[in-house]
Amino acid sequence: MVNIRQATVNDLLEMQTTNLLCLPENYQMKYYFYHILSWPQLLWVAEDDFGKVVGYVLAKMEEDESQPKHGHITSLSVIRTHRKRGIATALMRRSQREMEDVFGAEYVSLHVRKSNKAAFHLYSVTLAYEVNDVEKGYYADGEDAYDMRCYFESNAKSRPPAKEMAGLSIEGKPNANKA
């Protein structure tokens, strides 16, 4: 069983540890503090039965006034030993719901590595994100990122008409084993 709840300041160190264990993109504690002291409702954690943090979502509101109000997923990860339980989906849904309700976001955006098929599957199929753009060399190691978006029905005023996926073809079948 996994306890999905809003994160508190007391969870940040464990979130950082989880991030360092799972992902190549890491942040100093100050960045986690910045998130929770700005948008506390958007940070969620998954605890295993024994109370250990095994997954988290770190998210924020973009403050660029020139764009419509929207949230952004800074980082999401679930420790390998706790996969296949829908934890990532649950965390994302919670954070997205608060973006929509608390901050009136019209949509949420995120970046995902082009090669990360499991994550792409989660976003595009399970959570209904669409590819908005490709950012060349977004990651430190030179890999490209998909810039993806998911519009919220209740707030989506600025949603553009359905457009082609910027000429992208998605190769290969997502590897379900890694989801």
């Binding site: 069983m1 996994v2 306890n3 999905i4 709840r5 809003q6 508190t8 300041v9 007391n10 940040l12 160190l13 950082q16 540890t17 360092l20 264990l21 799972c22 992902l23 190549p24 890491n26 942040y27 100093q28 504690m29 100050k30 503090f33 910045y34 929770i36 002291l37 700005s38 506390p40 409702q41 605890e47 295993d48 039965d49 024994f50 109370g51 250990k52 420790i79 390998r80 030993t81 706790h82 996969r83 296949k84 339980r85 829908g86 649950a90 849904r93 919670r94 719901r97 608060e98 309700d101 608390v102 901050f103 009136g104 090669s115 430190a140 190691d141 084993n177 890694k178």
Partner: protein, 893 residues
């Protein structure tokens, strides 16, 4: 004749610059404020050309220099400015700012206060002072300063917010509420801030929290929630508070409404909300409600206190007939009732759960099954973790029966049961073996587990999760290199997975392969230069702690200290990092999180990583103190000396060492300087310098070991007082410093945490063995020791105390192995018992007791060996018993 100097700005003390330079000075300030440092410096130099001693210009120049990373030059400049114009508030302010940048917060506060003496209504200085006061937790001072600021500028919202916050922090809850209310009354009707938005919502919920903190004030807090409902956009928090207060006021109908509304919002997987739901159904007391809200993981009210049969029935019906119907997608609603099932119903639920998860291949299934096991002890429920307790648990057998049944059926017909209609996919049997291996692991049947995992690998060689589990089990079996080999195979199968990379690194460090470990972790950490530096910058404490432990095992004390120091440094940085958030949160009004942050920072050095690093450091320094190992060859053997001789010899050794270190340091400094000139002029980051300076920890080795250990143990007992290891470390330091009272206090505190702790037992005996040699105590201390000490021995003689402990340990066959070993050692050392008694305590039941691991068994072995003649036979028996328990252990002798 009038003194000419009077009109010369260089004479200091407030003489004004001529008009032209005044304008230049203003431009200088403007440039500084807009971060155009080069231009600012140009202006400053231009003024100084004419008036080289103008204090405020010197100060501003210093401040600018400091912002461009020229700390040393800045210091000199600011100081010179201050000396030239001690009556300028600006000079003092800048002096304070410089201290602040250097993180000398107390000095900065002093400087600001001097500045305010000259200009007591300078808003900038007051604001800066208040930030330092909250940083240093001078709460009273913070409140005073914020009150002054508000008086000076009552028109700004931020000043009202700050005063409310200050009053809240000093415990003036009513005052805090008054400030908020007064502010809200200053707003015009229809003002945006009174409407529904994030700022008003945050403020309302903050006010609500203060109301709820007032004693017996849930009524008012609940009423306030109704008042602010329309303003609050944070519906989740609003509902949570509503449910909580209602339950505490025993208004269960209202509480239920709020709980259901939270479930409707999709918060069905938050177990604290389920606990509230149960509190409502079972009509429990308010204090129990407080307790369940502090639970973590999947623990709920139903697994916190033993429930009656009737209570279980009520809950079961509510879940099965109501929640599961309403929220068919909720995992929690399905799983929680398993906690209150027993007998056939429990078996059936487990059967269904396993079928589902085995088909899906969920690796954490065993973990989940483990979580359903509880032991009742003193009116509360505990989760068993020791293999001995798990083996004895009545429900454990249910698991093995169910899973064994699946395995034989799956092997025969690819179905969970013969009668099933559908066949399972190929992978199901793999996950059934995997689960069974996990169940073996719980009860320390490592060989059986490995056999099954080998079958898994044969079946599906690329099942990465299997390698993870197998590596862990091999490690627990004492086969470290086997664990490394196994995890490395798993890593090769999925090189993109950082978790596998990290686990490989960890097992390598546990196996003492630090070079290889660094290479592996660098695959993910190197892309920003030096990987050690990258890991330090990213505050990767787990790695640094493992590396420190690895170096310690190899007797590389310097490098070990250095890695522990890195972790300690992260926490100092985290403490200092909060500084920027004081001002930030005042603007954002995210006060609930902010107050949580203040509390978190207050107990920061009680966090697990810090405590581990501090304990590791203390341990090394004590080892060094007991037998210094600094210069391998020319160090005398202290153990052969009297204490006076030893002291003298140590002093000489220390001097020698200091001298040699100094030379090395000088050399280092020069080469550093050269390096800097050779390279780009960019300022070195703090991280670079931390990693590059003294990489082998020689400076750390040169420190006074007992002093360093003493400092850290003081931090630990303050910040982690509920951790018994803090007090054990405190004792170890105090007894070496001959601080009798402090030693005694440490033992008392440790005893209040866990009287059956083996380390405590050893220290207690140690104290009484050393007691006759304490020397002169003051009469008062002596009287206190005479009165207080005996209770540590249950008012017995030391010998009787040890004998009784031995008797108790041999009567209860589950007495933990480490305690048995501690008692055995004490028996022989104090001659309270024979070698035979001591051996029997370890050998007779030791291997079947609690706390058995490869490490504790090795410790037992070294104690048996130290007992000398009379223990040979027992030593052989122990080796045989351990080998039988851990057949995969490569060597044990």
């Amino acid at each position: 004749m009038a003194p000419v100097l009077d009109n010369n700005p260089q004479a200091g003390a407030g003489r004004p610059l001529p008009k032209k330079e005044q304008d230049m000075f203003r431009t200088l300030q403007k440039h500084f404020d807009t971060k155009q440092y080069k231009k600012a410096l140009k202006q400053a130099d231009a003024i100084l050309k004419k008036f080289p001693k103008h204090g405020e210009t010197l100060a501003m120049k210093g401040l600018t220099l400091s912002s461009t990373g020229k700390g040393g030059e800045a210091q000199a400049c600011v100081k010179e400015g201050l000396m030239n114009d001690m009556n300028s508030h600006m000079c003092w302010h800048v002096f304070g700012l410089l201290h602040r940048n250097e993180r000398n917060y107390n000095e900065a506060i002093k400087a600001y206060k001097r500045a305010l003496r000259i200009d007591n209504s300078n808003l900038n200085i007051l604001r800066d002072l208040s930030m330092l006061q909250i940083q240093m937790r001078d709460l009273i001072g913070f409140e005073e300063t914020r009150a002054t600021i508000l008086q000076l500028r009552p028109s700004l919202k931020i000043h009202w917010m700050a005063l409310a916050l200050a009053k809240h922090q000093t415990g003036e809850l009513t005052g805090a509420i008054e400030v908020i209310d007064t502010y809200l009354r200053t707003l015009n009707e229809g003002s945006e801030e009174l409407g529904r938005c994030i700022e008003s919502s945050e403020l309302a919920m903050y006010k609500n929290r203060i109301l709820a903190e007032m004693p017996n004030n849930y009524d008012e807090a609940l009423h306030h929630l109704d008042v602010c409902e329309e303003t609050v956009v944070d519906r989740g928090a609003w509902l949570f508070s509503k449910a909580e207060y209602s339950i505490k006021l025993r208004d269960f109908a209202r509480g239920r409404e709020a709980v259901m509304a939270m479930f409707d919002r999709g918060m069905t997987e938050d177990y604290r909300i389920h606990s509230m739901y149960m509190c409502i159904l079972l009509d429990v007391d308010a204090d129990l409600c407080d307790k369940v809200l502090g639970l973590r993981g999947s623990q709920t009210l139903a697994s916190m206190v033993p429930l009656t049969g009737n209570q279980k029935k009520v809950l079961r019906e509510a879940y099965e007939l109501d929640l599961q119907v309403r929220y068919p997608d909720s995992y929690a609603a399905k799983q929680i009732p398993i906690t209150f099932l027993d007998g056939e119903a429990f078996r059936f639920a487990v059967d269904q759960l396993c079928r589902k998860h085995l088909s899906q291949g969920v690796p954490s299934l065993c973990h989940e099954l483990h979580s359903f096991l509880w032991i009742e002890r003193d009116d509360s429920l505990l989760r068993p973790n020791d293999p001995v307790d798990l083996r004895l648990h009545s429900l454990y057998k249910v698991y093995t029966d169910v899973v064994d049944g699946f395995i034989s059926s799956l092997a025969a017909s690819s179905k969970f049961a013969e009668s099933d209609a559908d066949e399972e996919p190929q992978t199901t049997i793999l996950w059934a073996w995997y689960l069974r291996a996990g169940l073996h692991e719980l009860v320390a049947e490592y060989v059986d587990a490995v056999i099954l995992l080998n079958k898994c690998i044969e079946h599906t060689p690329d099942a990465v999760d299997v390698y993870l589990l197998k590596a862990r089990i091999l490690y627990k079996s004492g086969d470290c290199s086997g664990a490394v080999e196994c995890i490395e195979k798993g890593r090769e199968l999925d090189k993109q997975d950082r978790y596998m990379n990290n686990e490989t690194t960890r097992y390598m460090l546990l196996a003492g392969m630090e070079e290889e470990a660094m290479k592996i972790i660098s695959l993910f950490a190197k892309h920003e230069g030096n990987s050690e530096q990258n890991l330090f910058e990213m505050q990767c404490s787990w790695y640094e702690l493992e590396m420190a432990a690895c170096c310690f095992k190899k007797q590389d004390m310097g490098r070990s200290l250095k890695k522990y120091a890195a972790v300690l440094k992260h926490f100092e940085d985290i403490r200092d990092d909060q500084f920027d958030f004081h001002g930030y949160c005042l603007k954002k009004v995210t006060f609930r999180s902010y107050v949580d942050m203040l509390r978190f920072e207050d107990s920061l050095f009680g966090q697990e990583y810090y405590v581990k690093a501090a304990l590791g450091t203390i341990h090394i320094y004590l080892v060094l103190y007991d037998r210094p190992i600094i210069s391998e060859s020319d160090e005398p053997d202290y153990s052969l000396m009297t204490s006076a001789e030893r002291k003298k010899a140590k002093a000489i050794a220390r001097k020698k060492k200091k001298a040699s270190v100094k030379v090395e340091a000088d050399v280092h400094e020069i080469s550093e300087a050269n390096g800097n000139h050779a390279k780009a002029p960019s300022a070195k980051t703090e991280a670079t310098s931390f990693i590059e300076i003294d990489p082998l920890g020689k400076d750390l080795l040169a420190k006074d070991p007992l002093l360093e250990a003493s400092k850290l143990s003081a931090v630990l007992v303050y910040s982690a007082p509920r951790n018994i290891d803090s007090w054990i470390a405190r004792y170890d330091v105090a007894i070496r410093r001959k601080k009798v009272m402090m030693s005694l206090q440490s033992l008392y505190k440790a005893r209040s945490i866990d009287p059956a702790n083996a380390a405590l037992f050893t220290r207690t005996v140690d104290f009484f063995v050393k007691r006759p040699f304490f020397g002169n105590l003051s009469d008062q201390s002596q009287a206190f020791v005479d009165e207080a000490a005996p209770t540590l021995l249950n008012d017995k003689d030391l010998v009787v105390f040890i004998q009784e402990a031995a008797k108790a340990a041999s009567t209860d066959e589950l007495t933990a192995l480490p305690l048995r070993v501690a008692i055995a050692k004490a028996l022989v050392e104090t001659k309270a018992g024979s070698v035979v008694d001591a051996c029997a305590l370890i050998v007779d039941c030791g291997i079947k007791s609690r706390g058995v691991s490869v490490d504790t068994c090795s410790e037992a072995l070294s104690v048996l060996k130290s007992l000398g003649s009379g223990a040979e036979q027992a030593t052989k028996m122990w080796i045989a018993a351990v080998k039988a328990q851990f057949p995969l252990l490569p060597t044990f002798e």
